[in-house]
Symmetry: C3
Subunit: 397 residues, 3 copies
């Protein structure tokens, strides 16, 4: 019989089904509260978690590759350079179109620089009266070269410390106004963007499948009429960023071209399209700022007729466009679904705790409810109702 008992115990353990014994109360107040809380939690799950936050989805970050190509020409006529046509290789620096490209809008040229000695441009620090005011070998971090220790005539009235430098020095006190290449707002840029979500093996281009080559050759991005055209007019982008191109062209700045690839891959990939937006990234506010605008210096080097290294220094002001691609793709996945549903189910158990508390404290029948809900077992092993417990279990002797 021992074996039979053992078998029975096993079977019972495996196939005996344990279920909670429930007390059913016909109290409309508590019942309604219970249903209301249940409804609220289920509504929250359905609407907020599933619909708005799409918490049933696994997500992946975008991986992106960008190439850009600027087009346009400008004719300028300056006293120094004469008539000059600027084409892409001159005003796009560096010439290669990657995810950051710079378009020259204003320029200070200093031709014919060569290694020699010349008086420093006057400032509080560089003005001098005698050689003793200058220090040989000293190089100010804001200066143009290394001091020779001599104090020399800068102009009729002013003497400044002499420096060893690329002379003549650049004079950037007066920025050309209006900007030399202010007409750059008519330039266009073609932006090609390939993205992928490696986790979902999803690839797409910003040139959408329904766009044909003919359209691409002549279109121009317009948020209303041509939202899918990948060719942008510089002036339009700056305007959308809330800036005035002619003002920005003077001292330069940084414009962010944001491409948002947030996609719900549970839908057809047709709906996964890029959203473009533009905003100024640098601080144009003169307070709380240093070196406002965007500029840098570069030089074109050549040998002059006596084979001496000579250069044309160019202080280039312009707009740097940063193509910033971001986004998250979501796709149904069982793990976040289970986690979110499971966690919400666990919250449903809170409902019961709240209703029990209401039932046992606020209802007028609370003692009766408690008597039936709780079976008290004292340490003698007898069960008894709540009402009689105090005297028997912990009662006075």
């Amino acid at each position: 019989m021992g074996c039979k008992n053992c078998c029975n115990a096993c079977l019972q353990c495996l196939f005996g089904y344990e279920t909670n014994v429930m007390l059913v109360i016909n109290n409309k107040g508590v019942g309604a509260l219970f249903r209301l809380i249940q409804f609220l939690i289920i509504a929250y799950v359905a609407v907020y978690v599933c619909w708005i936050q799409r918490a049933y989805q696994d997500t992946d970050s975008v991986i992106s590759s960008v190439s850009t190509k600027v087009k346009g020409n400008i004719l300028t006529n300056s006293p120094i350079e004469g008539v000059h046509v600027w084409d892409v290789p001159e005003y796009v620096i560096p010439p290669q179109g990657e995810n950051t490209f710079f378009v020259l809008t204003n320029v200070i040229l200093t031709p014919g620089q060569r290694q020699s000695k010349c008086p420093e441009t006057p400032s509080e620090v560089t003005k001098c009266e005698s050689d003793s005011d200058c220090k040989e070998g000293y190089s100010d971090v804001h200066g143009s070269g290394v001091q020779t220790g001599h104090c020399v005539q800068y102009s009729d009235k002013i003497k400044t410390c002499e420096v060893q430098a690329w002379c003549p020095l650049e004079n950037d006190a007066n920025i050309p106004k209006p900007a030399v290449l202010g007409a750059a707002e008519d330039f266009t840029v073609l932006i090609k963007n390939n993205i992928q979500y490696p986790k979902f093996k999803f690839k797409k281009r910003n040139i959408l499948p329904h766009i044909n080559s003919t359209y691409l050759k002549s279109c121009m991005f317009n948020r209303k009429t041509d939202p899918d055209c990948p060719i942008f007019r510089l002036g339009d982008m700056v305007t959308e960023a809330g800036e005035d191109f002619s003002v920005m062209a003077l001292k330069g700045g940084i414009i962010g071209i944001f491409i948002d690839w947030n996609c719900d891959l549970d839908f057809s990939e047709r709906f996964c399209i890029p959203k473009y937006s533009f905003s100024r990234l640098d601080n144009k506010n003169p307070e709380n700022n240093v070196a406002p605008g965007y500029n840098f210096r570069f030089a074109k080097y050549y040998k002059n007729n006596e084979s001496i290294d000579t250069r044309t220094l160019i202080k280039a002001f312009g707009i740097r466009f940063d193509v910033i691609v971001f986004g998250m793709a979501g796709k149904f996945n069982i793990v976040p679904t289970i986690v979110n549903l499971g966690a919400t189910l666990a919250f449903l158990s809170l409902t019961a705790a709240i209703c029990d508390w209401v039932m046992l404290t606020c209802m007028k029948d609370r003692d009766n409810y408690a008597k039936h809900k709780f079976i008290h077992l004292n340490q003698n092993g007898d069960s008894m109702p709540l009402s009689s417990m105090e005297t028997s279990s912990y009662g006075t002797p």
Copy 2:
């Protein structure tokens, strides 16, 4: 006695243990169903959540720094330039090896350009018959300069609008075929990649610790024989991406070099190694495309003998290699573990709900089960079995 009661109540509240009263049913059907669902949920957690999705791990995204170095020389012999050896400073543009590098494969040179006037290259838009067809100051976005308003002879038969531009204009109608630097497929590139996962203070390089310098000096990446060598032959990468180098060299393109650093940091860091893959990023399909391939123009500036600014315009076709580093590291963390296990436990409670439903609707003993599972309490405070409820609680008058 009031105080004693109070104390007793407190003690009872703190140390009284409440446990559910359970009804045990020896029904093999429901019991088996219950165990089966429990088994399925536990198996799902063990296999899918833990093993496959590693949901017990906290994750971090990779932070990466890349440097690249191309090596190789090519000799070309063209009628214009004569014998010319191309070395790295000439064909890698820009010369600095960052995470994107460009290798020149084809080139259209236009030497001796200077600011002057010349007839525009013929096209539907630029052909003219008289000056009235041309508009002074007009600059077409696809044109090479700014129109002077004159209609001049381009060739014996054709007249085009004259432009102010860098003349002579480039003629890019005929792309050299085969590509000038088609032999670039034999070039090699060394890719150094340092990554880190800041959350886990984990750092690693793609040059793995067991690789010695001697091997590095002579190895070449091969997926089967040398999977850890960080030196890649350009032709091999293009082939792995499913492209033909000699075709791609003509008009250029973009190749993505993907370095996948997905790592399970619960294992030894020895197992955290980069996986390389290659694919073409730009669209080679001529439909639904514009400006296929990859090219850009740049110029080498110099002063000619009369000190006039002159330049050699270079239209550079080539392959841009984008080194794209991505990956996620996971490491055991108590929070996601608790969340995932807890949520699954909550799902186990669903099991009981399903089995209860089966028990109370499909079993032949369902009335008996219900009678013992539910204790009904009517509003008079008496408990009664389900069978007698209708007549007493809501019964007919």
Copy 3:
């Protein structure tokens, strides 16, 4: 009466409240265990999940734009070049300050290169004794050009294969020591960094609102005295990275400038400030390495007096600074809160399971507890206590 019954059933279903029937046991051991486990789980949630891991927050990754500007001048006096002042356009390559900038620290100049033929620099591979040792058209991947097939005198004693190349060849056997531009450690760099968290519509700059322009013009970053100044001395950054500038300047290297924007956006945005740190990214260890340091070659092209293309080849050693911006912002969101709390609640149900197990196996009253906790229902539909079950339900006939 049928309809009335139906209505009653509906009402009961909607408003009947079901609650578990509980067995209350006055056993201090189990009660204390139950409270202890509950306390531990709640403490874990409060301290670890909420306080340390901030698991109640939704997170977003940083999007960043960086611009940099280096300042400083150096005077060098070399036998080849004479006195030469290096300014920013010369030693910052490329000149535009993006998130990666390179500062030249050492240089090997090879002036006057032009396309011609010259003996290869001697090495094991290039040394020869007769023309038969050289192969016309062969281009070694580590060589400087394409072999002509001739074996010529390199010096009095050594013969090497002749190559078609940019001659004279560079001799980079001896790197200048100390570094030509070793004084570059005094250069300063202004780093401007704009970040945003698009999910939270949060934008900020590394130039904090309380900093004024006057301070910015003269400040220098110092971790203790000026932690908010965005101007960094190159030497200080290298020192913080644990390197010696004068050693690193010889062969170059890569320094990472890490800007950590981890922010808790539930607090005021005043507390969301960047944290800077610096570390060396490349491997300086000579073992397990190839091409240590950081260098690249570029050339300045010009036409010589006979209008022949000539160039000055520059092998540039220097420090590449990679500005790496990373961070996560967190903000309270109901979904992760529900998920984390819900999952923890589910864990609380484990507590009951553990205490039940203790109660039913370890307590001396276990049989009594079991008798009251479980109501056994055999297949005849009668309920009975555990003690009598064996004989009736599965008992011997």
